[in-house]
Each structure stands twice: as structure tokens, then as C-alpha cells.
Subunit: 164 residues, 2 copies
């Protein structure tokens, strides 16, 4: 792992990076980044189903949180919690719950899912990885479609994390 920790951008010579989608691509709409980690907003079907769904991705190819040192972990979690805080502040309406998860079974490159949840979303109260428990039509006709502006989130993250 040591060689992966040393670099922040994929190397063509690195076998893990060559097959890792989070080494090859941003993984979403870039909202904030420093040399250690980046925040992206999830797009596509997942982003439509779960408005405001963001990921916080470690820049280099590291497998587990405990492969990072304590300072690196603290920095990454401070970004995760900044995203949680700003999603609670800026999503309209405010989320009923925030879900946080670092799984990485398919893509073992440290990344955190930060997912605003609403009681009328397609899966609530189940995790988003479970089967949907509402019909598409019932979900599509939720009373208030949650909104969150990427530009607002980008600006707020820049301000919140300026000194981190």
C-alpha cells in the first residue's frame, strides 16, 4: 500500500489505479478538493433518486480508513462532517436524516457516501442499498421535491473548509 499512499493522482504504472474508477475519474460533479480529498455530487439515476447525495473521496488509492494515519483520517472526517452540516443547512426541505457510509466492497478506494434522506424517498427508512419500499409513482409524487443547488454547496464548502 505504501506506494499508493505516496501519490495523489493515478499512475499508469500502478496496477490498482489502472482498474480503479475513483483513480481514473472524479466520480461526480466536483464541488471541492484539496491535495488529500475531494467532494463530488453524485449524478445520474442515484443523484435523481437521492437529491444532494455527495461523496467524499480520498485522492490516493488507499483501501481502508485504518490504512490512513490519524491525521489523514481526522482531515477526511472533517470534510465528511462539513458536507453533512451543509446538506442539513442548504437542502430544502431539511433532510429527515443523514446517512454516512464507507463501504468500498466493489471499489476499495476510500470514499464516503453522504446521503440526505427524506421520509418520502423511495427507500426510507431502509438504507438506499436495500430494495425500494415505495412504488415509483408514489415516490415520484412526493409532496415536496427536495432541492439543493450545487453552486450554493460549492461556495459553502469553500468557505467552511478554507482553513482546514
Amino acid at each position: 500500500m505504501e506506494q499508493h499512499r505516496e501519490h495523489h493522482k493515478p499512475r499508469e504504472s500502478c496496477a490498482s489505479c489502472a482498474s480503479c474508477e475513483l483513480c481514473a475519474e472524479a466520480g461526480g460533479e466536483l464541488l471541492w478538493a484539496d491535495e488529500h480529498c475531494r467532494v463530488v455530487r453524485v449524478g445520474g439515476d442515484e443523484g435523481r433518486a437521492f437529491p444532494g447525495f455527495c461523496r467524499v473521496i480520498w485522492q490516493s488509492h488507499v483501501r481502508e480508513m485504518t490504512d490512513l494515519d490519524a491525521g489523514q483520517r481526522a482531515h477526511l472526517m472533517s470534510v465528511v462532517f462539513a458536507v453533512e452540516s451543509l446538506l442539513r443547512q442548504h437542502c430544502q426541505p431539511a433532510p429527515d436524516k443523514i446517512n454516512l457510509a464507507s463501504l468500498g466492497n466493489l471499489t476499495p478506494h476510500v470514499h464516503w457516501h453522504v446521503i440526505p434522506r427524506w421520509q418520502d424517498d423511495s427507500h426510507f427508512p431502509a438504507p438506499i442499498w436495500a430494495a425500494a419500499n415505495k412504488t415509483a409513482s408514489r415516490h415520484a409524487h412526493r409532496q415536496i421535491q427536495p432541492t439543493i443547488d450545487s453552486a450554493v454547496l460549492r461556495q459553502a464548502l469553500g468557505k467552511r473548509l478554507a482553513s482546514s
Copy 2:
């Protein structure tokens, strides 16, 4: 929320605690605790399906990570990462991946799932909340049944977290 943050044990007068299972019960086999949080090993069907599955539970009834202050969050995460580290060290064989998650949609009382995963478990590489992707018989006949001794974990946690 302030009144909930102040106390570490359920109060009969507290409406949230009265209906919260993590206020009412330990939530598993107690492995370690301080005044702020506790580590339990998950039992029952979940524990059998996912050997070594632990939860780290904030003692008082707080909804979101960002309802804790930065020092409280750092303490809780240091315990989560200690559990991850010790599961990696003491599970036999070593897990193929560790999954971390703070969801709380059903039980909005801050708690972290720390789940060792193996490629031959019933759900891998899907999250444990998704549908199983292996038949029961194929899962039951995994080549090596993972083992982790609660006494070993309890002792290691005590040693690791003695100075936290």
C-alpha cells in the same frame, strides 16, 4: 436536543429515550464503554451472518454526527477506527473489507456499524442491507468460517483505548 446531550442514561421523563431501543438496551454484547460511547458485538441472526459485526453507540440520545461537537465526534471516530483496526487484526481469516456506516433511519440515535466482510459472505460485494446474492447453502459452506473471539476483542479494546 440539549437535554439529551447532557445525560448518558435514559431518563424516564425523556420522550425520545422512552421509545429508543439504544437508550433502553445495550444493543448487543458489551465489549467496551466509557461515559461517552460503548462498543457492542452484534448477536442473533445478524451476528451469525456477519461474524465480528460490532456497533459503536453514543451513550446519549443524539440524532446526527453534526449534533455532536468536534471533540465528541473525534472521540467517537477514534473508537470506531480502533474497532476497525482490531477486527482487521484479530478476525481469522482477516476480513477482505471493512464496512462503516452511520444510518439511523429507524433508530435516530448516533451509532456506527463496523462490519467485517469476506468475499464469500452471503452479500459480498453488496452492502449487507441489500438482498443476499449467494444461496444459503453456498454461504453456509464457505471454505473457512471466520472466527473472532469476544474476549480477545474486549481485552484488545481495553488496551487500545485505555488512554483515549
